[in-house]
Subunit: 329 residues, 2 copies
């Protein structure tokens, strides 16, 4: 109970965020394939956040955050650092509220993410992922130009916004009269899964909740076991650009620790196989970092036989060459 009191957000925050983003963010579909269910031996439902505005769930948190700032007359301009999905979410929300956005992106981000962020009207500043400190660049730009820094995950309004994904899943499952056994989704900084975990557990008290991470970036898995935040010391190559974060947030970790059973690890081959399955069976284009949850099912890390499982597909911003790789499997 002591620990509960210290959590950054609760179910009510997510309900409030849900009212705020209503009519702005899409209610994305919860999809399933009878043939895929047959192959997997269980019922697996996919929350297609790849179809969300700007191609990922990030629009939810960004819109919630900027909307609150606008209501408080504190929205003049924003700056954010992001590998590309938070970038587009913030850029689209800033465009909606008519304020300038500057986004700091790694120079090796997928081309589609850099181009779309620019097309949404944001100013893009590229940095070298392994040489420069994006936090420092963000702080500097924020102070120099009086811009509000919009953090990618370690922020109560961002977490509450991303949590509306889980809330929508709960409503959709209830409409189908389904009680899920478990849910799994990507963890980078932990915003999506911490917020969604609160909403899902509120509706389904017995649900088992899991994160999924790329090999070499299993910090959430290790942190949940250790009971304290542990970072990734190295930065190995991974195709999952959206979720190769160094560590989870100070606000997201206590929530993940409380609600998640753990996190599963997947390698690039599992991820490509999951992308191919999304294209062939679900007719969805999902980016590498977006389908790590399905990858954990395909590599048998998460057992789904005779269970009802929800998989969050978090984004769909992927260059053609990567889709080719997946289709070549």
């Amino acid at each position: 109970m002591q620990f509960m009191a210290s959590l950054a957000i609760n179910y009510q925050h997510i309900l409030t965020a849900s009212q705020r983003i209503k009519g702005h963010a899409l209610v994305t579909p919860l999809l399933e394939s009878p043939l895929l269910n047959q192959q997997l031996g269980g019922r697996v439902l996919f929350k297609a956040e790849s179809l969300q505005h700007t191609g990922s769930f990030k629009f939810r948190g960004a819109f919630n955050k900027l909307s609150k700032l606008a209501d408080a007359n504190q929205l003049t301009g924003v700056v954010a650092y992001s590998s590309g999905n938070h970038a587009q979410g913030v850029a689209a929300a800033a465009a909606y509220f008519g304020v300038p956005a500057t986004i700091i992106m790694p120079s090796d981000a997928p081309k589609i993410k850099i181009e779309n962020t620019k097309a949404l009207g944001a100013k893009v500043v590229l940095y070298q992922r392994h040489k420069e400190d994006r936090d420092a660049i963000g702080q500097q730009l924020s102070q120099a130009h009086n811009l509000t820094l919009i953090p990618p995950f370690n922020d109560t309004d961002i977490i509450a916004g991303q949590g509306t994904t889980g809330l929508e899943i709960a409503y959709q499952l209830e409409a189908l009269n389904l009680i899920p056994d478990q849910a799994i989704g990507p963890i980078g900084g932990g915003g999506l899964m911490s917020g969604s975990a609160i909403a899902l557990r509120h509706h389904f008290s017995d649900i088992s909740l899991w994160g999924a991470e790329p090999q070499g970036y299993d910090d959430a898995a290790r942190s949940i076991i250790a009971g304290t935040i542990i970072g990734n010391d190295h930065s190995p190559a991974s195709i999952c650009d959206a979720i190769v974060t160094r560590k989870v947030g100070a606000l997201t970790f206590p929530i993940l620790h409380k609600y998640l059973a753990g996190a599963k690890t997947v390698n690039d081959q599992h991820v490509l196989a999951a992308m191919a399955t999304c294209m062939q069976q679900l007719k969805l284009v999902v980016e590498p970092g977006g389908c790590v949850g399905l990858a954990a099912i395909l590599n048998h890390s998460l057992a789904v036989a005779d269970k009802t499982t929800v998989v969050i597909l978090s984004g769909g911003n992927v260059d053609p060459a990567m889709l080719d790789l997946a289709l070549a499997l």
Copy 2:
């Protein structure tokens, strides 16, 4: 008025079909991309029937038809001929009602369509597209095994079922407070567009309605102009396997003639470009025949600048090699 009285179905039939398929067919999302809108200079909303059960709108008509037969105690087994989407729709509906299905498919149908039809429990009989008569095979099987033939489009219950696509679009547009200027979608036999046209015109009296067809299969365009059904004399190669029909139906044509402004023609290159746009901008896997409407916009046959346009993306059953071709553009 004379002509109206002769139409096979009306708005009420579509409402009834809608009640019948409710909870069985998915309410597929109506999606748009701000960036694509920006590029096209107008607002374009996409009805993603590629995400429908069995990967195409065909499930709607098949379920409606089989459900009515079941209620009348006339459902013992079914036979259908199809290039693959109607096949899967009928197979899935037959599986739901627990009756056997035999599907006659061309031997050159996409592998994914043949395999999925079998996986759904149907018996598949392959025939040579240019040598054998699928109608004759269907009649023979129907009589020999006491199976009800489920026509692909020339049937009132099938048309009403497919028309629920247009009905859903109308509801979704109304929820967005949008009045569309125009809508476009694929025409093979005309079931989808005839049914949807009735529903859309009922809700939006000024909407302009268009079909889209592959080069060499522009029979609907010519038939609408001529005021009588004209078939395609030749069978040129086309990647749009789902809609390379010889002519529209005796029941669908009068509806198409009454409601449609005409039909646009697209070639394979336009279609591949549309598939690439679907993957990159909408995050959707759409099959060649499914995105001829978007192809007609991309090749400037249908002007969308400063207009609100609805495009029906009718299916997503496509083999990886075809997706590769589109991504290579």
